[in-house]
């Protein structure tokens, strides 16, 4: 799944650690989501969307088959 997490984080000048702290996950998890190696659960996707005041589908996009 593609996502705009890195772009949104960069806009706010947050480090991965800053974002991880706000989402209550590890920095490694933020990195894995940003690089597309891990797809977050729905509750975590909602937390991300709420944090950036956006909808889930505006942050995450399913990979084209």
């Amino acid at each position: 799944m593609k996502n705009r997490l890195r772009e949104l984080r960069d806009k706010r000048a947050w480090s991965q650690g800053d974002l991880a702290e706000q989402l209550e996950v590890s920095r490694q998890t933020v990195n894995a989501i940003e690089t597309g190696r891990y797809d977050p659960s729905l509750p975590l996707a909602f937390r991300i969307a709420r944090l950036f005041r956006m909808t889930i589908e505006s942050i995450f996009e399913p990979a084209k088959e």
Partner: protein, 134 residues
């Protein structure tokens, strides 16, 4: 909860494992020579205390880790269980066929086997998620 908020238990686990190994080396010669059954039982089971504490620390760390880390632990535990089951199953067959002579002492190798295969699996899964040492 983020891992960074909790102390990394690896040092404590390593220390407890060293205590375990130390106790084994120190106590095992006495276990063989002690004639009192209650004392022999106590000496035999004493090393389980640091081992149990280490397992408790690991379990607590897994519970406190976040969803991706828990998934990595779950996959690693599944792989480790599968590897251990396969090895013990094969060893059991070889023993039943008389190819391999196994005794009750060999049951002591099950926990080290599952620990080593778990550590290897966890490392492998963590690499898959792009995080060595997840």
């Amino acid at each position: 909860m983020p891992r960074s908020r909790h102390a990394d238990p690896r040092r404590k686990v390593m220390l407890l494992m060293l205590v375990f190994v130390g106790l084994m080396f120190f106590l095992w010669p006495h276990v063989r020579t002690t004639t009192s059954l209650p004392f022999k039982t106590l000496l035999t089971l004493l090393p389980i205390v640091p081992m149990g504490a280490a397992l408790w620390l690991i379990a607590t760390d897994i519970v406190r880790s976040d969803e991706m880390q828990q998934r990595a632990h779950l996959i690693a535990m599944s792989l480790a269980s599968g590897i251990t089951a396969a090895v013990t199953f094969i060893a059991g067959f070889l023993c039943a066929a008389g190819v391999l002579a196994l005794g009750g002492d060999d049951l002591m190798f099950v926990l080290p086997l599952i620990s080593v295969s778990y550590a290897a699996s966890n490392w492998m899964v963590s690499r898959r998620y792009g995080n060595v040492g997840c």
